[in-house]
């Protein structure tokens, strides 16, 4: 017999091997809504017009675990003193906290491209908003299907 105590919790029963289609270990009330992401974008960048374009988000089509998904965001910009990207925000419409990260760039970046790894609480479309040196706002997005591994015990 094993010596350590192991409690079979209800959640463990629900999320574990072969238990079905429950897609997240988070309580449902903790999950975010797309409106939360809209608000977070406005809180950070103000009320200016956000245009689609210039911003490219790269995500894998399928992520085999939402705990770490590689993301690359790039912005079409000469990155000169006169015309560059000031900030890029990444937002999730489904995570408990919509802001994922905010990157501060400038003309010294030379190239407006950043990669990181994010958490995704389920399948969703991640948005990236770029603020340019002239104050204009541009947005791009990409989606990933997050599958859940079979053998999770958390």
């Amino acid at each position: 017999m094993a010596e350590n105590s192991f409690t079979l919790t209800r959640r463990l029963m629900l999320t574990g091997l072969g238990a079905g289609v429950l897609s997240s270990a988070l309580p449902f009330s903790a999950l975010g809504e797309p409106e939360d992401a809209d608000k977070a974008i406005r809180d950070l960048f103000g009320d200016g017009e956000i245009r689609e374009g210039k911003v490219t988000v790269k995500l894998p089509p399928i992520a085999e675990n939402g705990n770490s998904v590689a993301i690359t965001v790039s912005v079409d910009s000469p990155m000169s003193e006169a015309d560059h990207v000031r900030r890029i925000g990444l937002f999730s419409p489904r995570n408990p906290i919509p802001e994922l990260a905010v990157f501060e760039l400038g003309p010294r970046a030379g190239k407006a491209e950043v990669s990181t790894r994010i958490r995704m609480a389920g399948t969703q479309r991640i948005r990236a908003v770029a603020e340019m040196s002239d104050g204009s706002l541009w947005m791009g997005s990409a989606s990933t299907v997050v599958t859940l591994a079979a053998c999770v015990i958390g």
Partner: protein, 105 residues
């Protein structure tokens, strides 16, 4: 905290160089429970900065949606020889840093 930096040792003036930085950190969201149901408190790095001879050339604010062991790839223009300093700061103000010398010709 273990830190990994990838940066060139030498570059030509004006080159756009790729920088990669990773630090060992759980980025605990505050939303998880331990094996006995207890809440695991939030513990995250909130800020990253890269300074090139003292001047900030790239920075990031992190939220709990950034994966454990935060990883970044970004770019900067090689302007002069000197030091690239990478610094991470957590929610309590504790910080970790690493630097890399670069020769620009």
């Amino acid at each position: 905290m273990t830190i990994r930096i990838s940066a060139p040792d030498t570059a030509s003036k004006g080159d756009i160089i790729e920088l990669k930085a990773m630090i060992q950190h759980p980025m605990e969201t505050g939303y998880r429970s331990g094996s006995r149901g207890e809440n695991i408190p939030r513990d995250i790095i909130t800020r990253f900065e890269c300074r090139y001879n003292g001047e900030t050339v790239f920075a990031a604010d992190f939220h709990p949606g950034i994966a454990a062991n935060p990883f970044l790839t970004f770019y900067t223009k090689a302007t002069e020889s000197g030091t690239l300093a990478f610094e991470w700061t957590d929610q309590d103000g504790e910080s970790w840093s690493e630097s890399h010398e670069i020769t620009v010709e």
